[in-house]
């Protein structure tokens, strides 16, 4: 980079480094919780431990290991815009894609009722 910026950036670039070990250990603890969570067998709790903790972990990795914590402000706006677009995208295609209960990954053919398609059945 050109020299004239070096002096300006000097202070900005010497931020505290995150305590990587502490973050790593926290992540491991969270991982253990998210593995243990489903074993208790309460559905709502499983949802919280699985998805809730995943969000927390993703945030910690992005903020500390990827240094987004120390980025300029507009990074946040950018991420928020992308999130908003993603949510819009999801809800806009949901009526087309989510017609059948979520078994698609199993490769089972959906059960289409012939009565509802042809308007008459055979008994």
């Amino acid at each position: 980079m050109s020299n004239n910026h070096a002096s300006e950036n000097h202070t900005a670039e010497h931020h505290e480094h995150p305590n990587y070990k502490k973050v790593y250990i926290t992540l491991l603890v969270l991982l253990a919780i998210s593995v243990l969570g489903p074993m208790i067998g309460i559905k709502a709790l499983t949802l919280i431990t699985a998805f809730g903790i995943a969000i927390v972990k993703a945030y910690m990795v992005a903020a500390n290991f990827m240094h987004l914590k120390f980025e300029k402000k507009y990074i946040n706006y950018f991420i928020l815009t992308c999130l908003a677009l993603m949510i819009f995208f999801f809800f806009a295609i949901a009526p087309d894609i989510m017609k059948w209960e979520g078994r698609n990954w199993k490769g089972i053919r959906p059960e289409i009722s012939h009565e509802s398609i042809n308007g008459h059945g055979h008994h």
Binding site: M1, H5, A92, I93, D96, I97, K99, W100, N104, K106
Partner: protein, 558 residues
Amino acid sequence: MSHSNEHHHESFFKKYLFSTDHKIIGMQYLFTGMFMGLIGGFLVYAFRMQLAFPGISVPGFGVVTESGYNALVTNHGAVMIFWFAMPVLIAAFGNYLIPLMIGCDDMVFPRLNRLSYQIFLLSAIILIISFFVKNGGFGGAWTAYPPLSAKAEYNLTPMGAPLWLIAVALEFVAFLIGGINFITTLMNSRAKGMKMYDIPMVVWMIVIASILFMASVGPLIAGAAMLLFDQLIGTAFYDAAKGGDPLLWQHLFWFFGHPEVYVVLLPTMGMVVEVMTTFSRKKLFGYKTFLYSTFFTGILSFVVWAHHQFVAGIDPRMANIFTVTTLLISVPIAEICFLMIATLYGGSIELKTPMLFALAFVAEFIIGGVTGIYLGSSGMDIYFHDTYFVVAHFHYTFVPIAIIGLFTGIYYWFPKMFGKMMCDTLGKIHFWGTIISFNFIFIPLFFLGMAGEHRRIYNYQNFPDLNTVGLFDLRKLATVSLLVMLAFQAVFFYNFIRSLIKGEKAPANPWKANTLEWQAPSPPPHGNFAELPEVYRGPYEFGVPGRDQDYWPQNQPN
């Protein structure tokens, strides 16, 4: 981070093949892109001959078979968008211009920049290989809709289809890397004193285009990976028989595909602005309005994608929403066209070749935009969908963007890039030959479309309604005009090479423009500026009252 005075005597390979200099990388993209553009042109020549004169052996190609026709159309579209328009407009001009125009010595990540070109080159090579493997290249259209694209039994190209998809995915990776470089460079390396509103419009446009690309390409890369799995390891993301859904692909594709139009449009608009202000000696009318209109267009471009699927069986409630957003997007775009025209108003216009191309861009692009209004209304689109009306419409946007945009840029920056002037008379011959023949290609296609000519059909003799002398005359007119247009490109290549060898030597600032690249020597050395410039004002201070010169370079201290 580059240090300009470390590289002095480099070997040929280091200097031209493995260079990290943004100017060399820009040229590599330029020449690779132009070469691929010629391939795209050759493909369209082959299939337009088949359409006008069905069954003949096309000179230089041979007989076009049914599946050969599909492969030609598919690869024409893909090559033109991904391997010609994008590399030339974004990567070539972006790499060449951004550091020069914001007054720094190189990109922030020069080696990442070189990696981006190398991945791009690899993708181009894989694509070309895909033409020659068993059963030839992929033939499922550039949109690659499944189920046709997902199964070798349907698309008959067991090797061509995966290779095509891998090539496209690599190309995306190359442009993601390049785009990150552009964005960080603009944000971190601007010359001292250059504020946000002092940035030349073309730099803004290329960077906004990179942001749009970054934000839109993710879903498609994920979708492409799933498609590759469907092709190769038997998953069923898009296979309705096994519970998948082909509509999912269409959504993923067009969520990327529509913003993609703006990704290639914005750089061209930026180049047109630079040329228009310089050759009319006028300030850009409404710099901020222009910029904010583009932002608005960019955001809107993400919420219109389903207008490509009005007849694909999407939920009809969505068709209403997407009709509205689609028509809405014409507002900022029209605004931008008005700003360009207002810039010209009262200017002292000089009709040099770059200016002719810039003016032609606005004129032709407006035809593309206006015909898009019809297609954006879901009711009309039910009639027009997949006819040649659509083909004519999107070529009235893409040809101005890609071809006219390329020539606007080359004729304008050639003196800077190569230190020689191009011949203006030859340029004008090339201009008129290209523009007139271009209109005679695509105006007939509007009428063919309205007559019901469906696209992606290999031989219209099979359809009694379309097998009439009148319609074949229109088809022949389009094809002959294409031959004329291709022939006139020879004038350009002659001019290009002749100017390189014995063109008049170019001064640093032949057009008397304000932006920083013209303050560097022509061509600029490694490191660009002897001393990094300092910026005092915006880029379009032409004809400022009370000054004896009609221009006022950004780095001139009063």
